[in-house]
């Protein structure tokens, strides 16, 4: 099992969700994040002072999947999130040692989906 973490542009969340659904991946967790990557920040001005903002708003996805679902998941994320512009985001994949469904106590493969 793997834990897939993806950082995407916030306004791409809906597209990513759609393409994940299309790939039959229905379970995920989403958090807000601020990201600092290749994308340059932008400037705000506030009462005459310029403010460099280099932590940009991003959305963080966490998806636990069985090994054979890793590729489809990654593909679906890329499909939904890619625009070709800097700031599109990144995907990180970690090994997942165990997964437990709280409600039933099921473990591993059966618990994940």
């Amino acid at each position: 099992m793997k834990l897939i973490i993806a950082y995407i542009q916030p306004h791409k969340l809906n597209d990513v969700k759609q393409s994940l659904y299309a790939a039959e991946i229905h379970k995920m967790s989403v958090t807000n994040a601020l990201g600092c990557g290749q994308q340059k920040g932008y400037k705000e001005t506030y009462r005459g002072v310029v403010l460099e903002v280099n932590l940009l708003k991003k959305v963080r996805l966490e998806i636990a999947v069985n090994d054979d679902f890793v590729q489809p998941t990654v593909d679906a994320i890329i499909k939904g999130a890619r625009t070709g512009d800097i700031g599109d985001g990144k995907i990180f994949i970690l090994d997942l040692a165990e997964c437990i469904r709280i409600r039933t106590g099921e473990k591993g493969k059966t618990a994940i989906g």
Binding site: P10, H11, K12, N14, N32, Y42
Partner: protein, 449 residues
């Protein structure tokens, strides 16, 4: 005998002095004491009413800000704030002259910049100007809600100047400035047509020309809900507006008299709003299964808009009927706009345009001759279709005029600076793209929608 005459004279002098002294100190003329007093009260009332109508800017600002997303909050607040500044200036230089200057049936043509204006009536020119300037500001700011979340800031600034300098005062001239509608006997006591139908129609034109927000309508034609970011602000705004309407409608009496006229207007205003809110919430509850806060607020505003024209001409139970109908209209109107793919984020069109029209027509239905100085009876009171016809003619002509005028104005603006921000700017939010700032720095907000 001589003594008596002397006593007589002394008595008279004493009387004159006794009455006049405190007045002398103030106004230096005996003969004007009572006149001054009436004029003083009336001015006091009109000014306070004008201050209250000014506060509508805060009401509209909070309502509109509450009903849009965090990422566009600064923009809508700024539109709302600056359109009043623009309106103040434009109505000072051009608007008042067009609305109340001597001219023809279509528009006034004298008194630019308030120079060389002679003013009749019991209140001074300045009070009259301020009262009408804040009305103009209210009409202008209605549009901010309709075009929210996608119009360029520059374009909005230009719009707000032009509407206050030309469109609003022209319709105002027709109705309140002795123009052609006034001569026909068209009656719009406090501005269901002049302020609300005008503002609401301008919002309709603007929202159509600028197009729906990204993500509002799906390919299959269905509409998405784009939820407002703060129901607390929206609710505050609505209550402030209701409060200010007590300046808007009763203040339009422009005089205090023995107080009974403005009291009647105030009661009608309050009842229409209350019934409008209750009707809208129950009707929406019935339709959608849940009591929706935004619908109850829009229902109250719908009632207020609808009673604005007839508030002086009807009795309380009729005000309640008018409020009831307005509550139905606002709910159906909202649904209808979604159907025809007009994206009006705050409901400016159902509230101000549709109910502005309804309120004006309601005068022709429920108006009572003599009440509030109305010239004829409405349909329900045996006046036949005469008043009703004039009312319909007036409100529809005004709407059509605004459609034409605003289409031209927005087209012009579109050619000069463009109406709409780019897709990227819209997604990022207008606060960042137009103003380079955030409304809620420090709060963690979702900007994925």
């Amino acid at each position: 005998m001589k003594n008596k005459r002397i006593a007589n004279i002394i008595l008279i002098l004493f009387l004159i002095l006794g009455l006049a002294f405190p007045v002398f100190a103030e106004d230096a003329a005996v003969a004007t004491v009572n006149h001054a007093s009436t004029s003083g009260i009336d001015t006091l009332w009109v000014l306070i009413a004008a201050f209250m109508v000014f506060l509508m800017q805060a009401g509209f600002g909070m309502l509109e800000a509450g009903l849009i997303r965090t990422k566009n909050t600064c923009n809508v607040l700024m539109n709302n704030f600056l359109d009043f500044c623009m309106a103040s200036t434009a109505f000072f230089i051009f608007g008042y002259a067009i609305m109340f200057g001597k001219g023809n049936g279509f528009m006034g043509l004298s008194g630019w910049g308030l120079v060389n204006v002679t003013h009749e009536g019991s209140i001074p020119l300045e009070a009259a100007w301020l009262f009408h300037a804040v009305f103009c500001g209210a009409a202008a700011t209605i549009v901010a809600g309709g075009i929210a979340e996608r119009m360029k800031f520059k374009a909005y600034l230009m719009y707000s100047f032009l509407v206050s300098a030309t469109v609003y005062p022209i319709v105002g001239h027709w109705v309140w400035g002795g123009g052609w509608l006034a001569k026909l006997g068209f009656s719009d006591f406090a501005g269901s047509t002049v302020v609300h139908a005008v503002g609401g129609t301008a919002a309709l034109v603007g929202t159509i020309m600028v197009g729906p927000r990204i993500g509002k309508f799906n390919k299959d034609g269905t509409a998405n809900a784009i939820e407002g970011h703060s129901m607390a602000l929206a609710s505050l705004g609505t209550l402030i507006l209701w409060f200010c309407w007590f300046g808007f409608n009763p203040g339009s009496t422009l005089s205090v008299g023995d107080g009974s006229f403005m009291s009647k207007v105030a009661v009608n205003t309050n009842l229409a709003a209350a019934v409008g809110a209750l009707t809208a919430v129950f009707f929406a509850w019935y339709l959608f299964g849940k009591p929706d806060l935004t619908m109850s607020m829009n229902g109250a505003l719908a009632g207020l808009v609808a009673i604005t024209a007839p508030c002086a001409y009807v009795v309380p139970y009729e005000a309640m009927i008018i409020g009831f109908v307005s509550g139905i209209i606002v709910v159906l109107g909202t649904i209808f706009l979604d159907r025809i793919h007009v994206d009006d984020p705050v409901g400016a069109v159902p509230v101000h345009c549709m109910n502005g029209i309804w309120g004006t027509i309601a005068v022709g239905l429920f108006g009572r001759e003599g009440l509030g100085g109305l010239a004829g009876n409405g349909l329900m009171h045996g006046g036949g279709f005469k008043l009703l016809g004039v009312q319909m003619l007036g409100t529809f002509t005004a709407v059509i005029f605004v459609v034409v005028a605003m289409t031209i104005i927005f087209k012009m603006i579109d050619m000069i600076v463009g109406l709409r921000v780019s897709r990227d700017e819209e997604l990022k939010g207008l606060d960042l793209s137009q103003h380079g700032m955030e409304a809620y720095s420090g709060f963690q907000v979702f900007i994925n929608r």
